[in-house]
């Protein structure tokens, strides 16, 4: 293990301090100067992160004949990209055209602004609209990513415009991309190498300080702060550095400063390495942070499971679409089960807070008819693994979750009345025949799952322009030699990201960063 220098100690305390000092002018006095260090290795381009954005950037830079190093903190390459679902919004893609669906820039931007609560940087959305199809065609034809030959719908989009990878995992993109990168003699992927800081020459980024043989330790409260392992290396980046380090969903301290109600028992579906360290390092050299408090949560995930788990699709499509959500303390409903993600998360948090340890999780229930209307796998996987429970009577269900029986039975019978009347006078859930096909909660067996919001995506990050250059908050101009793409950037998704939009963002701005650096 390497001894910590005074600079390192200073930096560690500064990490916290700089986060609190958001928006204040940083003098750059503390950054590493190129004349103070001896570079161990030299490349044209250094890319931080090996997910969608970093890999796409690498391929474009390699195409231009540049020498590229990809730096990955984790032992596993691809970050969240290899555990995502692999659906990508691509306006005007071939499948969309074949199905006769007409797309337009106005429609695309209007969709994004709606969930993004008008906070989106429209100039960047416009770039995604213009170039997503080019990225998709490149992935399909040149990289050899295999797609399901159809266009699919995704949450928040008013028309079908997403494509789906055959293996139903983002690894369907990353594996062929990395194969291509690794086959190129000008490229190297350095795993278990932790990026720490930028090396500056005046106001220009000319390299990085990193640690090789680094092993991420998920048992630490903050790996960024506490893990001092690895061997320090300085790497020169002649053309510059592309930051594609992802979001900070797994950074418990940092995210809770942005959004104080994200208490410590709130989990994330992200990989444990999704911390704020790289974002903070960019802010140290003047990058302008945007929208850091806008963190997207998934209201359907299960507190008894890690990550996304096996019951989330059931809770979303069976019990919330065709059943109801109960506060186990009162036996009563507490929200419109069909409201948007943000509204539902806020309502669930309020219910959870009634528990001594923030753990009064809502119980989501539906009957056999609701299950039958959906893909059987939505329910069977959870029932097999125990995240969804099955009961012959509502009384048994109430008992199992400690719900007061009488109020609960009244809630269900009231709800069934609302379905019959096609109107929910309490919370305004759409219950028309066209919405729920007359399905109430009456046909045994009954199914139940717990739910809690888990962190899904960080809309906020550092500001970039249409060329993927990082904008300085000190000069309001691009920082020379520093580019960024993907979840580490902010502004594109505004205050709420639509489904499948992160992939479009990563692929398009990764491509642009690789073209421009």
């Amino acid at each position: 293990m390497e001894k910590m220098s005074r600079r390192d100690l200073l930096k560690m305390s500064m990490v916290g301090a700089s986060a609190l000092a958001l928006g204040s002018i940083n003098s750059n006095a503390d950054t590493i100067k190129s004349n103070e260090v001896k570079f161990d290795e030299e490349y044209d381009v250094v890319i931080i992160g090996t997910g969608f954005a970093g890999s796409m950037a690498a391929l474009q830079a390699l195409k231009r004949g540049l020498k590229v190093a990809l730096i990955e903190k984790m032992g596993r390459a691809g970050g969240n990209s290899v555990i995502n679902v692999g659906n990508m919004a691509v306006p005007n893609n071939a499948f969309q055209k074949a199905e006769g669906i007409k797309d337009s820039k106005e429609l695309f931007i209007a969709d994004c602004l709606k969930d993004g609560v008008n906070l989106n940087h429209v100039d960047l959305l416009s770039v995604i609209y213009d170039r997503a199809n080019e990225a998709f065609e490149y992935l399909k034809s040149t990289v050899g990513v295999e797609f399901v030959p159809k266009c699919i719908s995704a949450s928040g989009h008013s028309i079908k415009r997403a494509v789906q990878v055959k293996v139903a995992s983002g690894s369907g993109y990353i594996q062929p991309m990395h194969k291509m990168i690794e086959a190129n003699p000008n490229a190297i992927i350095k795993k278990r190498t932790k990026f720490d800081e930028f090396v500056m020459e005046g106001d220009r980024v000319v390299g990085i300080k990193c640690r090789e043989n680094y092993k991420f330790d998920s048992s630490l409260a903050s790996d960024d702060l506490e893990n001092t392992g690895g061997d320090v290396k300085y790497i020169k980046a002649k053309n510059g550095v592309i930051l594609a380090a992802g979001g900070f969903s797994s950074d418990k301290w940092f995210r809770a400063q942005q959004v104080p109600y994200l208490k410590t028992n709130i989990e994330t579906v992200s990989q444990p390495g999704a911390t704020a360290g790289a974002l903070l390092a960019a802010m140290d050299v003047g990058a302008n942070p945007l929208l850091l408090s806008w963190i997207q949560l998934n209201p359907y995930t299960n507190p008894t499971e890690k990550g996304f788990g096996t019951s989330a699709v059931f809770t979303n499509h069976c019990s919330n679409d065709y059943g109801l959500s109960i506060n186990p303390k009162t036996g009563k409903r507490f929200m419109n089960e069909h409201a948007g993600r943000k509204i539902k998360c806020d309502a669930i948090f309020k219910v959870m807070a009634e528990g001594a340890n923030n753990d009064n999780y809502p119980v989501n229930i539906c009957d056999q008819a609701a299950v039958d209307l959906n893909n059987p796998l939505y329910t069977s996987k959870g029932v097999e693994s125990g995240s969804i429970k099955k009961f012959n009577t509502l009384e048994e269900l109430a008992k199992a979750y400690n719900i007061p029986v009488e109020p609960f039975l009244k809630t269900v019978s009231d709800f069934n009345g609302y379905v019959k009347a096609e109107k929910d006078p309490e919370f305004g859930k759409p219950l028309k025949q066209a919405d729920v096909h007359g399905i109430d909660v009456s046909k045994p067996p009954f199914y139940a799952s717990l739910s809690t919001p888990k962190i899904l995506y960080c809309m906020g990050g550092i500001q970039i322009n249409e060329k993927a250059q990082v904008i300085s908050r000190k000069t309001q101009k691009p920082i020379a030699g520093l580019y960024a793409a993907g979840e580490v950037t902010g502004g594109i998704q505004g205050g709420g990201r639509l489904g499948t939009m992160s992939m479009s963002d990563c692929m398009v701005f990764g491509m642009i960063a690789g073209e421009n650096i």
């Binding site: 293996v167 995992s169 690894s171 096996t310 995240s387």
Partner: protein
Amino acid sequence: MKRLALLLLSLVTCFSFVFGDTKSAETNSTKIVMSDELKAKYKLKPHHEHLAFDCIDCHANQGDDPSKFKNIKDEGCLSCHGTKKLLAQRLKFMDTLKANPHNSVHDGPTLYCDECHFEHKPSINMCSECHEHEVPQWMGVTP
């Protein structure tokens, strides 16, 4: 089919004949006496214990102070265990659910051995980070 057979053949040949490619001859200056204290501190896995391994069988050329031994990394493990592809082939039946830990849908045969397997402390299962409830249905305890 023929190509598959050839591939298998070459894999097996590599494993049986080459049995690793470390060129390091053993140069530890003194023998390490395996005291009970050392054995308790650096427990071996049952299957390695059964093979009666000494410290230096894995930690060759790392001196004679166990407290200073380094991680032997993938190369160390694979000097006996062949290749990651071979290890994936041995659990090929798990490919039916894309849950072969050595060739998963997410990572293929690219993970470091010590993402999951540890010699001197209990191993973990990285799949459990997300598939906690499914893992016991897919596979046994990580050796």
